[in-house]
């Protein structure tokens, strides 16, 4: 199976993620699919991560956590958070096949970020649901 996102959808995704998340002062936002493909990659211009490796690891990591959830009788753990000394990563699942990865410093409130992520996910869902699968 493959899927295509057109310019309008990608512009819409970038705009929504920029307006709702990047303006909070977070370092980067990456929208990926569960196969590890990078759909949208936004950053604050100060960082230069290896986004493709990050996406592969994030998809694998999330898959592993979901498999663990299944073993202990949970349907899934829909969000995941890793705390570092100065940088943190938050993963949020969107529908069955997509994952939003947000990287942010300690100056950003996790609670507020999650609130904004909940809001932006609604917009992302609408845009992705128009996707043409083949």
């Amino acid at each position: 199976m493959s899927y295509i996102l057109d310019q309008e959808q990608l512009d819409g995704l970038e705009e929504a993620l920029t307006t709702d998340l990047m303006t909070l002062g977070i370092q980067s936002v990456i929208l990926i699919d569960m196969a590890g493909n990078v759909i949208v990659n936004l950053d604050d211009g100060k960082v230069r991560h290896d986004v493709y490796s990050l996406a592969a690891l994030a998809a694998g990591n999330f898959g592993a956590v979901s498999a663990m959830a299944s073993i202990i009788g949970e349907e899934e753990f829909s969000l995941l958070f890793h705390k570092g000394k100065s940088e943190n990563i938050n993963f949020t699942k969107i529908m069955d096949d997509f994952l939003l990865v947000s990287i942010f410093g300690n100056d950003v409130s996790l609670g507020y970020l999650r609130l904004k992520i909940d809001e932006v996910i609604k917009k992302v869902k609408v845009l992705i649901e128009q996707t043409r699968s083949t």
């Binding site: 493959s2 899927y3 295509i4 057109d6 569960m34 590890g36 493909n37 759909i39 694998g60």
Partner: protein, 201 residues
């Protein structure tokens, strides 16, 4: 699950190297990495056990140029070959677009090859993928062992064991020496691209 980005004119394709444990999957990726490291920004990512065996996967982005004006970014993955790691092996296969099956030519690994191929078929079935429908290339690895006097299977036997019904393209190779490694991956990418090319705008 190939992703086609019409804005950046980019296609992202996932190619997975599978096969029995100690068959040379990681060695394939290491050789490819040694050949392309000067022109890619990424490092090869490996999640290994302390004993240097693949625990989860190896990952290497590989760019092949443009097809129909679309830049093709291929993500190469390996899976752990050991039987006990099936849960992680299954995870890596999620969204796979093409397979390289690295079979071990050593005579005493004959059963392991067949077991690994059956396991691949079962794992693909979990994602509703029929192995016969998926782009697939066989690589009969470790052919160099014959020069060291180690008994290896003849190609006809391996074809009969693994490729009799699938009739996929196959290559003899030595991942350690790099023989036929690049032709194998190029064939896998081109076969995969043929499968998704019709979907390009």
């Amino acid at each position: 699950m190939a992703f086609i980005n019409t804005k950046t004119k980019e296609v992202q394709v996932k190619l997975v190297f599978v096969g029995p444990g100690r068959g040379g999957k990681t060695t394939n990726l290491e050789y490819i990495f040694s050949r392309i490291r000067h022109r890619i920004e990424s490092d090869m990512v490996s999640i290994k056990t302390q004993g240097d065996r693949t625990l989860f996967f190896d990952f290497l982005p590989f760019e092949l140029g443009a097809i129909k004006g679309y830049n093709v970014k291929t993500q190469l993955y390996t899976v752990p070959g050991q039987v006990k790691y099936n849960a992680t092996r299954k995870l890596v296969l999620k969204g796979v677009d093409g397979i390289v099956f690295v079979a071990d030519s050593m005579v005493d690994r004959r059963e392991n090859n067949i077991t690994a191929l059956n396991n691949l078929s079962e794992n693909l079935h979990f994602y509703d993928i029929d192995i016969a429908e998926l782009p697939l290339v066989f690589q009969y690895n470790k052919r160099d062992l014959a020069t060291e006097g180690i008994p290896i299977l003849d190609v006809e036997t391996m074809e009969k064991d693994l490729n009799a019904t699938l009739k996929a393209p196959s290559f003899t190779a030595s991942a350690l020496k790099g023989d036929n490694v690049i032709p194998t991956v190029k064939k896998a990418i081109s076969t995969t691209m043929v499968a998704i090319r019709e979907k390009l705008l």
